[in-house]
């Protein structure tokens, strides 16, 4: 089968790309291994809600139009929203079609699937950024008596054995899972590495509202000092709840959750923790306060001080003076280790040499390096700080389809029979 562009993945990103391709009348097909919004449907824990408020959650041509603009969508609501978007677009969609290989065929691409092969001039990888758990190699040294669960497999606390749980990682995933597991009666210790602390609400407004206002959300990949570092910034400690609560380390401490340093090693059945916990927490506090200062300055510069609640600062993260440096994993002190250590994309089907020595895709704002006609969407800070959010898909998809269209136009060859292909 032949088409101009193959889009791999029918999540919010792939559908947004399809929207702009259709607007330019670029012939394409969207391939999806499962159903629309497959990862949102099948790879998230039960209680998860979006980290962004509903009023922000929109896709090109479909802004949020529900009754709860300040709420946060549950996963079934997200799936409904994206399903509705797919029905609205009615894209050329092939569901239950798994891509087995993408390879080069001259200047074209061959996309091999379990339901036939496609030949195309350009390909858009919209296959998600969170396909696989990023688990540190030291996990292999865990004693067999301890269950090892990744945040990708985790669904609900009751699936875990009774007993204590070590949650490794305190970004959005870790901090949310730690709270509900501890609430379930399984005492939690959190291992705290680099993290980003943010309040849910500041001066009466959602932090995402402020980040839009002060221009942080729209910061571009070619504007920041250090894009490699910016792309590695962990997902801020946020949770979407009806009561708009702030879930930070102090919240967990008040619940009785214990904090230890970053998990640095496992030796002789003992987990060894970094002694750098104070610094990690201090840095997160300082960075949060810098953002709050930016917000306060923006409010003052715009003469809006009377429009919002007064400025204030949050309590610094409380860290016990000498946090434990080791935990016995064999004595029954810990029954389960839950790895909330991040995610990575799966490129096992990508047979084009576009990955670096660490398996990461080389790209400039989603334009894949060294493989003309190949594009990527839906990665952390792909083109903008908001790239990894649903509402970030629109601007990225528009930019990339602009680039793709220009590429096709420049390439349009004349075939030997004199016809434009």
């Amino acid at each position: 089968m032949r088409t101009t562009t193959v889009v791999i993945g029918a999540g919010h990103s792939g559908l947004a790309v399809s929207h702009f391709l259709s607007a330019r009348s670029i012939d394409h097909v969207v391939l999806e291994r499962g159903e629309v919004a497959n990862s949102w449907r099948t790879e998230r824990w039960d209680s998860l809600r979006l980290l962004t408020p509903n009023w922000k959650t929109g896709l090109p041509g479909l802004p949020y139009d529900g009754k709860d603009p300040d709420g946060y969508m549950t996963m079934p609501e997200v799936v409904d929203f994206i399903d509705r978007y797919a029905r609205l677009l009615d894209p050329p969609l092939e569901t239950l079609t798994t891509v087995l290989s993408v390879r080069k065929d001259g200047e074209d691409y061959e996309v091999v699937t379990d339901r036939g092969d496609w030949l195309c001039r350009s390909v858009v990888l919209a296959s998600g950024g969170f396909n696989l758990p990023k688990v540190p190699p030291i996990a292999a040294a865990l004693p067999t008596s301890v269950d090892s669960v990744t945040s990708l497999d985790y669904r609900r606390p009751s699936d875990l054995r009774e007993g204590a749980v070590l949650v490794v990682g305190v970004s959005a995933t870790g901090i949310q899972i730690a709270e509900e597991i501890h609430r379930s009666g399984r005492p939690v210790t959190v291992s705290v590495g680099e993290h980003v602390r943010l309040p849910r609400v500041y001066r009466g407004k959602d932090i995402h509202w402020w980040m839009d206002m002060v221009g942080v959300s729209n910061e571009r990949f070619d504007e920041v000092d250090d894009i490699i570092r910016a792309r590695r910034v962990p997902s801020p400690q946020l949770v979407g709840t009806p009561e708009r609560k702030t879930l930070d380390l102090n919240f967990l401490t008040d619940m009785g959750v214990r904090m230890v340093g970053r998990l640095a090693g496992i030796r002789d059945g003992k987990a060894q923790m970094s002694g750098g916990l104070h610094n990690k927490c201090k840095r997160a506090d300082l960075k949060m306060n810098r953002l709050l200062t930016t917000i306060d300055e923006w409010v003052a510069e715009n003469g809006l001080d009377n429009e919002f609640d007064p400025p204030h600062r949050f309590e610094p993260t409380r860290v016990e003076k000498s946090p434990p440096l080791s935990l016995d994993l064999e004595g029954g002190e810990v029954r389960t280790v839950l790895w909330a250590t991040g995610y990575r994309p799966d490129y096992s089907w990508l047979d084009v040499p576009v990955l670096d020595h660490r398996g990461r895709l080389r790209h400039e704002g989603g334009v894949v390096t060294g493989s003309p006609g190949m594009y990527r969407i839906g990665l952390n800070f792909l083109r903008r700080r908001k790239s990894s959010f649903i509402h970030g898909a629109e601007d990225d998809a528009r930019d990339l389809v602009d680039h793709l269209a220009a590429y096709l136009k420049a390439r349009t060859p004349v075939a030997s029979n004199g016809q434009v292909r």
Binding site: A264, N279, K282, L286, R290, S322
Partner: protein, 184 residues
């Protein structure tokens, strides 16, 4: 000092080196070396002459020597600082270098940077008096006093926090490291 430096740290060069090492990770492999010789009693002398880095053997501008001994109450001669104090020297020098480099990068002009360090240790561990007491430090405290142009308290705290993040010795002291000792 090249043009534009305010604290004498060539950050442009450091950023260049980061790019090189990022593109060719093996270029970043360094091996540091020291040789040590017993003098008398608990007194010994460590010599630093060369190391491996950026793909080749390299030499310092000159050789450096560090003496170490133990204090009088251990019935030693106290000819030099104790090894654990030299560890503190390593931590302080590493963090201070980091403060200067980060300040350079953030265009903060330093007037003076002073650090005081304290490390607590119970010698019951090394004396074998109590198996539950560890040999090494059980707490290390560092305090910085920094006088700088155009930097508030939060900026200085951020400077010191960032210097910990990029410090080799801070990492060495806070994270476990495999150490193997052999006899030939």
């Amino acid at each position: 000092m090249s043009k534009g430096e305010i604290n004498g740290v060539d950050t442009a060069h450091l950023l260049f080196a980061r790019g090189v090492v990022g593109d060719a990770p093996a270029a970043g492999d360094y091996t540091w070396r020291a040789s040590n010789e017993w003098v008398h009693g608990t007194h010994s002398r460590t010599r630093i002459d060369g190391y491996f880095g950026l793909g080749e053997e390299r030499a310092h501008k000159s050789n450096y020597e560090f003496e170490a001994d133990h204090p009088l109450e251990f019935n030693a001669k106290d000819n030099a600082a104790t090894p654990v104090e030299i560890v503190l020297a390593g931590l302080a020098s590493c963090l201070t270098a980091g403060v200067a480099a980060v300040a350079e990068n953030r265009e903060i002009k330093l007037r003076s940077v002073k650090a005081t360090l304290e490390a607590d240790m119970n010698i019951g561990g090394i004396l074998g008096a109590d198996p539950d007491v560890r040999n090494g430090f059980n707490d290390v405290r560092v305090n910085y006093e920094i006088d700088a142009d155009g930097a508030g308290q939060a900026d200085l705290e951020a400077l010191v926090a960032q210097s910990q993040k990029i410090s080799a010795v801070f990492d060495i002291m806070t994270n476990p490291t495999n150490v193997s000792v052999s006899v030939s």
